[in-house]
Structure formats: structure tokens, C-alpha cells
């Protein structure tokens, strides 16, 4: 990889070939290339169409429940004794996470393209539930690919998807987790090229998905920017978010990319620790390679075989990361820290006890670093954390780790 230059305008990416510096691209089988070009053209047209944006905004307001609040977490702030901590309450969205922002955008695009069958992949089930939700709302059949291991550990979400009318396909190939679910969804797409829309849940995969998912999630950062200016009269010193594929993080980061005074901090899942091989930190523990249509940081062995990710959080349990994060890391615009399973469990409990909020175990990874960030910034400063999902789905997992049965 070449030493990257810091650009004048961070928001000018990706380029026409879907690249963020060296990262991104369209590494897909030839059968899919015409579909990928078609999607790119359709998305560009929709993005420029005020009617599409108006329709999307209507659903975001009345169905999703936007804008989500920006909440001053007074007791967490007092606890850490540093900068003021604000939480962007994405967990209050319909279906309980930020995933619905992207699903609503993509389902409207799929309808506009005349697609009649929706496929999606899911890890924890949050994106699967959000996909099943929008498919129910618009009366489209939905097939969700989910690793057999995840089906087993996320049973309530599987049932939720079934209630919403989606068919959940348990994937037994490979390691039977999120990356294999994505492989299987791609195999479905390559087989059903004429009627099927692939609703990818994170800002990764082949162009235009990283750009499109980022755009749909950027509503988080746009609202945050306006809200913090209103309550504090200034931009925050730092913005913090957990990163698996990285859609909630890029969504809140993107509107701040050109505000160089705002530190952008992603938190990867360190699983059982970065000194072990059981983690899911692509940037901190991987190197660039090609998987699922894009060049990006990946967990892999010396031979370029993809290795399994490990995290208490099924939503962060993925060996890659969105290509824009890889680029922001290389150019130094964003910083990527890590949090272990145990640190995240502690943060989960702390947030429940001090703020009366059960955060998703994914979001708890960001919460696990918020004390350090708030103290680094110091009193008089302001930091914002993207509380990307609610933790009700994780209660059984947390109980098991605390040695309790419920």
C-alpha cells in the first residue's frame, strides 16, 4: 500500500471506481458485475431525486421515529469526571437500533428498481430484524441468511424475523457465522439475478454499498451536528462509536470528517484480548486484503485465508471492516481503539446502573472507552457517543457471562 495523503475534502470519496484511497472496489464474480453497475446507477439517480429523499424523510420521521434524541448523560459524566458525555440515542429507533435507517433507504431503492425479492445477511439479528420489518411494511418477500451458530445464540431475533414474515436460512457452510451468511447471500444473488435485491446491512462489501449505506446512516451524524450546536453552541471534541462492519460509526463520523478539530474514535471488539487470536479487530489485528467485494483490513492468516472473528457481540463478530474506515485509519483522520468482552460487559452494567439504559453489547464496546476519551478531552470539553442499539436482546448473553440463569 502506498503512503496515503490527507485529502482536502474527506467527503469527496469514494471515487468513480468505488475507492477510498486503496480501499473498496468491486471484487465480485462477473455474473454480478452488471447488477452492481445497475445498482450504482439507480442509487445515483435516487440520491439526486428530491422525491426519493422526501419519501425517505417521511418514513424516517413517522415510521422510524427520527430525529433520535441527543441526551446529556449526566451521571456517566460525573462518574468519569472529564468532558461532558452526550449519547446519540439510536437505540430508540423503531426495531431498536440504527440498522433501520439503512434498511428504509434501501427498501425504497429496491422498490424504485422494481425488485420483488429481498435477501439480507445478519449476525446478531439486528439487521435481519430491520430488513424483515421493512419487507413486511412494503409487502416484499424476505430471506435472511444467518450463520447456524448465530441462529442458535440469537433465538429471540430469529423468532422476531419469523413473526415479521421473513424466512431465516441457517447457514452451515464454513464457520457458520456472519461471514458465511454473507457468502451465502452472495450465492443467492448470483443465482437469482433478475428479481432479487441484496440488502447489505453494513458499510462494507462491493461499491456502491459502502457509500450508499454510509449515506443512509449519515442522518445520525447530521442530526448530531445540529443538536450539539444547538445545546452546546459548538462542535464536540470527540465522537465515539463501536465498529464491526462500521455502519453506525461511519454514519455518525461522516458529517464531521472535514471538521478536523473533532476527533473520531472507533472501538473494535477485542474479544478475549488483543494478545490472543480470539478477537474481531480488523484494523488493530488484521491487514489489507480482499473479501466480500472490497479491499479492506481483514483478519487473515499468512496465506490470505480469512480467519474467524471472536466477540461476545454477534454484531461485531466479523473479520472485516468497511473500506472507508480502513482509509480513515491509514490517513490518520480516525483512530481505532479496542475493548474486550469483559470491558464491554462492565460498561453494559455501568450504563444500566447510572443512566437506566441497557445498551446493545455492540454499543457497550464504545461505552467501554468513553471514560478514557472523556478524561483525555478533560473538563470543559464535550464528547458524543453513538448508542447504536438497545441491549434487551443481550440480556441472556450478559446473564450467562455473569454466571446467572434467567
Amino acid at each position: 500500500m502506498n503512503a496515503p495523503a490527507r485529502p482536502n475534502d474527506y467527503t469527496a470519496y469514494p471515487d468513480a471506481s468505488g475507492r477510498f484511497g486503496d480501499y473498496g472496489g468491486r471484487y465480485v464474480p462477473e455474473t454480478l458485475m452488471p447488477l452492481v453497475h445497475e445498482l450504482d446507477a439507480a442509487y445515483k439517480a435516487a440520491k439526486a431525486d428530491p422525491a426519493f429523499q422526501a419519501e425517505l424523510n417521511g418514513f424516517l420521521t413517522h415510521y422510524v421515529g427520527r430525529p433520535s434524541p441527543l441526551y446529556f448523560a449526566e451521571r456517566l459524566t460525573d462518574h468519569f469526571g472529564g468532558a461532558k458525555i452526550y449519547l446519540k440515542r439510536e437505540e430508540l429507533n423503531h426495531t431498536g437500533s440504527h440498522k433501520i435507517n439503512n434498511c428504509m433507504g434501501q427498501i425504497l431503492l429496491a422498490r424504485r428498481m422494481g425488485k420483488t425479492r429481498i435477501i439480507a445477511e445478519t449476525g446478531a439479528g439486528q439487521h435481519g430484524v430491520a430488513s424483515a420489518t421493512v419487507c413486511a411494511r412494503f409487502g416484499l418477500p424476505c430471506i435472511v441468511y444467518m450463520g447456524a451458530v448465530d441462529v442458535e445464540r440469537q433465538k429471540p431475533n430469529v423468532f422476531r424475523m419469523n413473526l415479521l414474515g421473513a424466512r431465516v436460512e441457517a447457514v452451515t457452510s464454513g464457520s457458520a457465522t456472519l461471514k458465511d451468511a454473507m457468502n451465502e447471500a452472495l450465492r443467492d444473488w448470483v443465482t437469482n439475478v433478475h428479481d432479487t435485491y441484496y440488502l447489505i446491512g453494513t458499510a462494507a462489501g462491493m461499491h456502491p454499498y459502502p457509500e450508499m449505506v454510509r449515506d443512509f446512516q449519515s442522518v445520525i451524524g447530521k442530526e448530531t451536528r445540529a443538536q450539539i450546536l444547538e445545546v452546546e453552541g459548538r462542535l464536540p471534541d470527540a465522537v465515539v462509536a463501536c465498529v464491526g462492519g462500521g455502519s453506525n460509526a461511519i454514519g455518525i463520523f461522516h458529517p464531521f470528517l472535514n471538521d478536523e478539530g473533532v476527533k473520531l474514535i472507533g472501538v473494535e471488539a477485542a474479544g478475549e484480548g488483543m494478545d490472543t487470536d480470539r478477537h474481531a479487530a480488523a484494523i488493530n489485528g488484521g491487514r489489507p486484503g480482499v473479501l466480500h467485494g472490497n479491499m479492506t483490513y481483514l483478519l487473515q492468516d499468512r496465506e490470505g485465508q480469512i480467519t474467524e472473528a471472536h466477540s461476545i457481540s454477534a454484531g461485531l463478530d466479523y473479520p472485516g471492516i468497511g473500506p472507508e474506515h480502513s482509509w480513515l485509519h491509514d490517513v490518520g483522520r480516525a483512530t481505532y481503539l479496542t475493548a474486550t468482552d469483559l470491558e464491554s460487559l462492565d460498561a453494559f452494567k455501568l450504563t444500566a446502573e447510572l443512566e437506566g439504559i441497557l445498551p446493545a453489547i455492540e454499543s457497550a464496546h464504545a461505552l467501554a472507552r468513553i471514560g478514557d476519551v472523556a478524561r483525555d478531552v478533560g473538563k470543559g470539553g464535550v464528547v458524543v457517543l453513538n448508542l447504536s442499539g438497545r441491549g434487551d436482546k443481550d440480556v441472556a448473553t450478559v446473564a450467562a457471562h455473569l454466571g446467572m440463569q434467567i
Partner: protein, 277 residues
């Protein structure tokens, strides 16, 4: 050699007036030693060209048979360098049968395109198909292959329309691989009547021989495709033989080679108006 070996093989078959039979073998399946025995037996069994798969952990365009073959090979420690070793060992006894590697981008990125092309050419590899490297992303690898007189073999598919075909053909040499069905390997069945006009279209646009693969499992099907294509590729049906032989505790090599022989025979007889069954 290299590109020249592919061209020479197709030229010879043109004189014979028949299609080539291309046999796919996954390197290291079920283990390196057995895979080498299979490779060495392929020409005598009737394979005109060898497609040598190199395993990847996440083969997104493969159906279950080749997915499992890759997993068996990886479990036995097969690597990209191990794959080149197999080719080198095969070349010691055969200078004429082209070997085309087939696999995914990431192991090549890891090796480095330039170093890979140099080492593969030295091992006697003639060309490569990289499933997840479309023309939009392939220039750096194509440059490296050109420098070593190796062929980059592209896939044309049922979704490749007339507007896209020139993009696919550009920088392709040796032959073009027509994917006969929209889908993954080894699931849907290819239909000769459906495939024929596409083969003609690709042949005309490229001026190259056209191989057809994905979904050819039986001698009957191979024979039918051989009447309309310049080469017939069988993969999943051969790796299934490996899987079944392992399961039944039978001799893997003889089982695979006997399947190759029956398919190759059907291909040879196809344009003589004869049938094998």
C-alpha cells in the same frame, strides 16, 4: 511456453475436429499426494486441459461440492505455494497439457501479483481464472501475467450483454470461459441449446476458443455441450467423486480418473454423431 501451450492445444484439437475436455481438480483434495496422483493421471484419462483450483476459505461463487473440496484441502494444509509445487511436479512428466489455475483474489494479493505471476510461470502454470476479480479490478494482475506470458482467462456469463462483452474480452487470452448458468458451481444444469448462441456470440466477439462450464455433470451433458463449445469444463462432479471415494473408503485416484475417462470419451465422440450410452 505458457500462453503458447494453451494456443497449441486448441490448434491441435481444431485439426482433430473436436472440443477440449477440461478437468477441474482442487489442489490438495483430499491431500497433496493424492491430488498429484490424480493430476499425473489426467492426460492419459483424456483431459486435454487441467484446471487447478487453489483453495480459499470463502469461495463466494462455489456451490457446496467445491466449497467442501476447498475445506478438505485447507484442512490438510494446502496453500498457494503448495499448489504451485503440485504444478511443478506434474510438469516434470508433462510439457504439453495446459494448466489453468482457478481461485479467488485474496491469496494472490497476499503473495503479491508480480511475485505470484513469476513463480507460477516458473512452476509451469499457463493461465489463471480469478473468480472475484472482474475487469474493473484486474489490471494490476493482468500486467503481472503479461510480463510472464501467462493468460488471464475471463468469465462471460448469462448477464454479460453485448455492451459488456468487449469489457470482459479485453486483455483476455487463451480462451474465454462461458459460465453456462447464472448461479454457483455445480447446482443448476447447463442446457446446450440455450448455451449455443451465447458461445457463438462470445467466440465471434473475442476470436478465441470458448469453454463452457458450471452445471455439467454427466457424459450426456458433456457430449451435448461439446457439440457447440470449444471446450467442456467439469469440476463439481469430479470433486464429488473425491468426496464419495473418501467416504466409501475407495481408491480416490482411480475413481476420479474413471469419471474423467467417461466424460472425456463423451466429448471425443460428440461431433462424430456417436453417443456413449
Amino acid at each position: 511456453m505458457t500462453k503458447a501451450r494453451i494456443d497449441a492445444r486448441f490448434a491441435a484439437l481444431k485439426t482433430e475436429g473436436r472440443a477440449a475436455f477440461v478437468a477441474y481438480v482442487m489442489a490438495g483434495d483430499p491431500d497433496a499426494a493424492t491430488a498429484l496422483k490424480i493430476l499425473k493421471g489426467l492426460p492419459a484419462a483424456g483431459a486435454d486441459i487441467i484446471e487447478l483450483g487453489f483453495p480459499f476459505s470463502d469461495p463466494m461463487a462455489e456451490g457446496p461440492p467445491i466449497q467442501r473440496a476447498a475445506q478438505r484441502a485447507l484442512a490438510k494444509g494446502m496453500t498457494l505455494s503448495g499448489t504451485l509445487e503440485l504444478a511443478r511436479a506434474f510438469r516434470e512428466g508433462d510439457q504439453d497439457t495446459p494448466i489453468i489455475m482457478m481461485g479467488y483474489t485474496n491469496p494472490l494479493v497476499t503473495w503479491g501479483y508480480d511475485a505470484f505471476a513469476r513463480d507460477a510461470a516458473a512452476a509451469g502454470i499457463d493461465g489463471i481464472i480469478v473468480v472475484d476479480l472482474p475487469p474493473e479490478e484486474a489490471d494490476p494482475l493482468a500486467d503481472a501475467l503479461d510480463a510472464n506470458q501467462m493468460s488471464l482467462i475471463r468469465l462471460a456469463t448469462p448477464t454479460t450483454d453485448d455492451a459488456r462483452l468487449p469489457v470482459v474480452i479485453n486483455r483476455t487470452s487463451g480462451f474465454v470461459y462461458y459460465v453456462s448458468v447464472a448461479g454457483v458451481t455445480g447446482v443448476k444444469e447447463a442446457d446446450a441449446a440455450t448455451v449455443a448462441p451465447h458461445v457463438a456470440r462470445v467466440r465471434k466477439a473475442s476470436g478465441l476458443p470458448v469453454a463452457v462450464g458450471f452445471g455439467i455433470k454427466t457424459p450426456e451433458r458433456a457430449g451435448a455441450i461439446a457439440e457447440v463449445a470449444d471446450a467442456v469444463v467439469v469440476g463439481s462432479a469430479l470433486v464429488d467423486e473425491v468426496a464419495e471415494a473418501v467416504e466409501m473408503n475407495e481408491d480416490v485416484t482411480s475413481r476420479v480418473l474413471s469419471k474423467v475417462a467417461s466424460l472425456a470419451k463423451a466429448v471425443r465422440l460428440a461431433r462424430q454423431g456417436l453417443t456413449t450410452v
